[in-house]
C-alpha cells in the first residue's frame, strides 16, 4: 500500500523546479546534528558540512505540494562549494532533471542546490530516487 496523497512518477515533468521556503541555520541545528551523528567540531559557529545536505530533502516538505512518493533513495552526487555559518539562511532549489520509466516504478534524478541569503550556492548535487507510479502498488 502506498499513500494516496503524493507526487507520483507521472506527476513529474522534467524541468519542473521547486523553491522551498528559507530557514535560518542556528546553533541548535548544529548541536542537535552533532549529538545525533557523533560529528566532532570545535567551532560552535560552524555548520557541519553534511548538515545542509541532510536538510535538503526535508526543506521540500515545507510547502504545499504533496511529497514525492519515494520507494527508495538510490544515491547522490554532492559538492560542497563553501562553508555555511550559524546565522546563514538557506533554501533549497530542486529541479527534475531526468525521468526514466521502469515497469512498476520510475527513476527520477533531481538536481538540488542549497542557496544562501546572498543567492550563492553553498552546496549542490544530484539525487536519484525510485518513485512510485499511480495505481501500481510496490511488490
Amino acid at each position: 500500500m502506498i499513500p494516496a496523497h503524493g507526487t507520483y512518477f507521472e506527476d513529474i515533468d522534467v524541468g519542473d523546479e521547486a523553491l522551498t521556503p528559507a530557514m535560518t541555520l542556528t546553533e541548535a541545528h548544529a548541536a542537535l546534528y552533532r549529538g545525533l551523528t557523533g560529528e566532532v567540531g570545535g567551532d560552535p559557529g560552524a555548520i557541519p558540512d553534511l548538515l545542509p545536505l541532510c536538510l535538503s530533502t526535508g526543506l521540500g516538505w515545507r510547502f504545499a505540494r504533496p511529497p514525492l512518493v519515494v520507494l527508495a533513495f538510490m544515491g547522490l552526487d554532492w559538492t560542497i562549494h563553501r562553508p555555511l555559518r550559524v546565522g546563514d539562511t538557506v533554501h533549497s532549489r530542486a529541479r527534475a532533471a531526468v525521468k526514466r520509466s521502469m515497469r512498476d516504478a520510475g527513476v527520477v534524478i533531481q538536481t538540488h542546490d542549497i542557496v544562501d541569503q546572498h543567492g550563492d550556492v553553498a552546496q549542490g548535487g544530484r539525487f536519484t530516487f525510485l518513485v512510485a507510479k499511480r495505481g501500481t502498488a510496490p511488490a
Binding site: P3, L36, T37, L50, C54, T57, R62, T79
Partner: protein
C-alpha cells in the same frame, strides 16, 4: 606536545580504518525527522510500512550517511580536515531499527591542489550492518591541511 591531528603529508594511500559499531534506534530516526523535516512515511508510519517491501520503518538514507561521517571520527586519529569537498554515494540496502552499522574506510588517492597549504584525500567508504551486508557505499573527497615546513 603530541600533534593530535594528522596532516595530508602523513596520510598514506591504502590505509584502512574500521569504526566501532553503532546500533540505529527509533530515537535516531525520530530525531532526524524532526531535525531535517523529512517526515516521509518510509521513516515515520509504522503501520503503513508493515505492508511495504521493507516490512517496517527504515532509517533515512541521509541519516546513515551522516552517522557514518560521525563514525569516521571514531575510527582513526582525526585528519586536519578543512571540509568535505564532494561525495559520490549509493544507498544499497535499508537500515532498520536495531541494526548495528559500522564504517570501513580506505584511502584511495591523494591529490595536491593549487594551494600549497592543503591537499585532497579521497576515501572509499563502506557501511556494513551486523550481518556484513553493505548498506551504503561511496567515495568522499576531504580537504586536509598540509604540515607547514
Amino acid at each position: 606536545m603530541t600533534e593530535l591531528r594528522r596532516y595530508y603529508d602523513e596520510i598514506e594511500v591504502g590505509e584502512e580504518y574500521e569504526s566501532p559499531g553503532r546500533t540505529i534506534t527509533e530515537t535516531d530516526i525520530v530525531l532526524f525527522a524532526g531535525l531535517s523535516g523529512d517526515y516521509n512515511v518510509l521513516h515515520t508510519d509504522a503501520e503503513l510500512m508493515k505492508t511495504s517491501i521493507f516490512g517496517e520503518r527504515i532509517a533515512h538514507g541521509l541519516l546513515g550517511l551522516a552517522i557514518q561521517s560521525g563514525l569516521f571520527s571514531r575510527s582513526t586519529r582525526a585528519y586536519a580536515a578543512l571540509s568535505f569537498t564532494s561525495l559520490r554515494w549509493k544507498f544499497k540496502a535499508p537500515i532498520k531499527i536495531g541494526d548495528t552499522i559500522r564504517l570501513r574506510a580506505r584511502v584511495l588517492a591523494k591529490r595536491e591542489t593549487d594551494k600549497p597549504d592543503r591537499g585532497v584525500v579521497t576515501l572509499a567508504r563502506t557501511v556494513v550492518n551486523q550481518r556484513g551486508e553493505v548498506v551504503q557505499e561511496g567515495e568522499t573527497d576531504v580537504l586536509v591541511e598540509r604540515k607547514s615546513a
